[in-house]
Symmetry: C4
Subunit: 251 residues, 4 copies
């Protein structure tokens, strides 16, 4: 097996397709957002990527095993650009894998005609969020201006530590290919799977690309998470020695 | 030395051979099961695999050193499929090694005519087992149905974390080669080397493939382990502050 | 993407250029020193090096993302050798990366005509420094003698543990290319970013190569750090159970 | 730089040369033994091996830097086989490095005509040693018998965990090249650098190969270590809550 293997299943004729990446990360914001698009809109599985840099693992569902991989779905929209989503359950397990996988993802994207790249993710604030801002980073000033127009915030020194993993490298390696790319990062506490942050990211993405999804199921999931948070806060206020440190990651 | 080296020692003419893998893992269930087959039935060493992804180590027995490797034995059965066992003392030490070794194992298996793959292992329950169920995962619905017929359980969301290591990859990489493959996982506490779980797995495998072994020595070893467990439980009930956490892995 | 990629942006005609490396390390001494040269003197960005052995990361400034890399600037001096500085925010993340990156850095240096190599860094003493000595190590006795002449100290058994990372390998790999190389190590506590140590290193480097920079901004930064140290010492003397171990790294 | 680089400095005509490896390990027994041979007998540096799997490091002595490497010296003996020693300050830092370096060492050894391999090391007992036995492991029964004749002990299940690192792989990879190889392991506490254990190993090696060295300097060093042990024991017996665990590794 080669370190990175591409399996093309279909090559639909897409209109000015945009890559929309949502792999696991902070608050699972990007993953929730990209998977929500697939739940709400018709899509076609067009490619899988396997890699020896993914965990050596199969997932099992109803007894059927499936090798760790990332997958691309084509989503044709009624107007504006079509979407090519990139989703999966894993990131690479090492640095070379991060670089190699991202390069492979961009090979697939370019083969399917992708002209712009949007990496979706979360940026941890360490506090429960009141207003869900979406932070941006991009490779061109045109993209920055365009995204500011739909409400994305570009701040002088944020995110402070840069962007790590596939979302960061999608920007860095796209730039080296002269492919315009942006990262949309929903603010999120960092402690919880955060459907509200995912919705905030998707709302911005809709405006930037020009498509529409229903947010009903994402809002339901957000309500469930709020219920979880409410219970934790109750437990905290009734417990004698509870502290901020007791708030663990809950997904 | 290449990362993965195959040493073929014999190429017997096997009848519809089935690969039976039993490398170290949870409760050593797979290893015990596969090695028990070799103890009970006549076998021929047919291949060794060496790898720079194994530990940099030799084992020493009676002063003679032997480089870390995995080995294949051919077992001719009286009726039904012959067996090709895959046993050894090590798994790979890193992700690339897991992928590369499993690929190499399947190269050997296909060279020796293998038509189906059975990976044997244990699935940890965290509790001492009363009834030794065998969980399954497979790459085809035909195999799932066939194995259900001999008592293997296929459950909706189990094993929850998927299957990791060579057993998992044997499924994932076999599927990519269109080679039907199943994993048989004996339930086991996860704290102890578990000959009873190994026996449960082997009983199912016998029915699925069509061969027979005597379980006398495996039952003796199970009795020894039960004696160990009994003593631990005595110590626990007599000790003042004993807790579940005191039950460590014992092999 | 190849493991190590060179991007040459300009090939100025430099006079007997000297490579001056200042990547992150102990007390950020080397990084502060090399970056101070770039702040004070006119320079031209001539090359970037990207690598899959750098962290999988982009930095973001005013919304614009930039892939992790190291960069070379040419600095033409009025008399004596011109400088080729090597700076960046990262070292390699693994051993193979350290070797491969340093080899790549020397490829760039030789392509741009470099005839001598100076690696700048800090050597930790574990104590706050009164007098900022600069320790040296080199690949030739000629260089040792020349540097002793400008005040660099070469001690019998220091630094005791050798020199690790890119600064060390610049010596080791330059020697194998017959390229004279020296490492200038400013003594520093190891607890703090140390502009004074950087200045001590630069003063020696000026004399060795023959160029001049103003130290005003570095001295200001040193004053700020001294203020930090003073406050820590106040807190220590007023705290009841303070100890040497409470002095953490501050940057 | 290639992962493994050989630098041949001389190709003396050696008589039935024997490789004698003494790299760092338990109690530094192998390293002390091989270096003592070089101190006592005339030798010629014949080869160096560099590797990206060594630490990214230079050692510095009197200001002169030297890249991490292992080195081979030829030692011509008056009668019997000549020696080719393999010494250095480092082992590889990862599994692939262990395999690749050992393979490279054997390439050098075979190029210089080596016909037998002796890996020297220590085997930790966890207790202070009264009588310094030397344990053995080998690749052929002829070597086992020959070494039993000079007092090496071959025990049924020792060393229990096999032999790890370059000494182990020298056996494993020599066997795959049909090159007879043995490991001589001096018993040692595992807590201290152990010149006495090194002497025991060398005495056996002398008898096996047929050469002679003076042990005066090794005995002096052993006396110094005994003084250290005596002081530790005094401190232990006078301290109220001292225990076996307080005995740390001292080198």
């Amino acid at each position: 097996m080669d370190p990175f293997e591409i399996e093309i299943l279909a090559e639909p004729d897409l209109e000015e397709p945009v890559l929309v990446e949502g792999l696991p990360g902070v608050g699972h914001v990007g993953k929730l957002a990209a998977e929500h698009v697939l739940e709400e809109l018709d899509s076609q599985l067009v490619a899988r990527v396997y890699s020896t840099h993914f965990p050596p693992q199969v997932t099992v569902e109803d007894g059927t095993a499936e090798l760790a991989h990332a997958e691309f779905h084509a989503v044709e929209t009624e107007e504006g650009s079509d979407l090519l989503t990139l989703t999966g359950d894993h990131q690479a397990q090492d640095n070379q894998g991060h670089y190699g996988l991202t390069d492979t993802f961009l090979d697939v994207a370019e083969r399917l005609g992708v002209q712009r790249v949007f990496a979706l993710g979360g940026v941890p604030t360490g506090e429960l969020i009141e207003e869900y801002d979406v932070l941006g980073a991009a490779t061109t000033t045109e993209l920055i201006e365009e995204l500011e127009g739909v409400g994305v915030e570009f701040r002088e020194d944020e995110p402070a530590g840069g962007i790590v993993g596939v979302s960061g490298l999608l920007l860095g390696l796209s730039e080296r290919r002269d492919l315009p790319a942006a990262c949309l990062m929903g603010e999120t506490s960092g402690y919880l799977v955060d459907p509200k942050s995912a919705q905030a990211v998707l709302e911005v993405l809709q405006d930037a690309i020009g498509f529409e999804v229903d947010f009903g199921s994402l809002e339901e999931r957000a309500d469930e998470m709020e219920e979880v948070v409410r219970k934790i806060q109750e437990m905290e206020s009734s417990a004698p020695a509870a502290s901020e440190e007791d708030l663990r990651y809950i997904g």
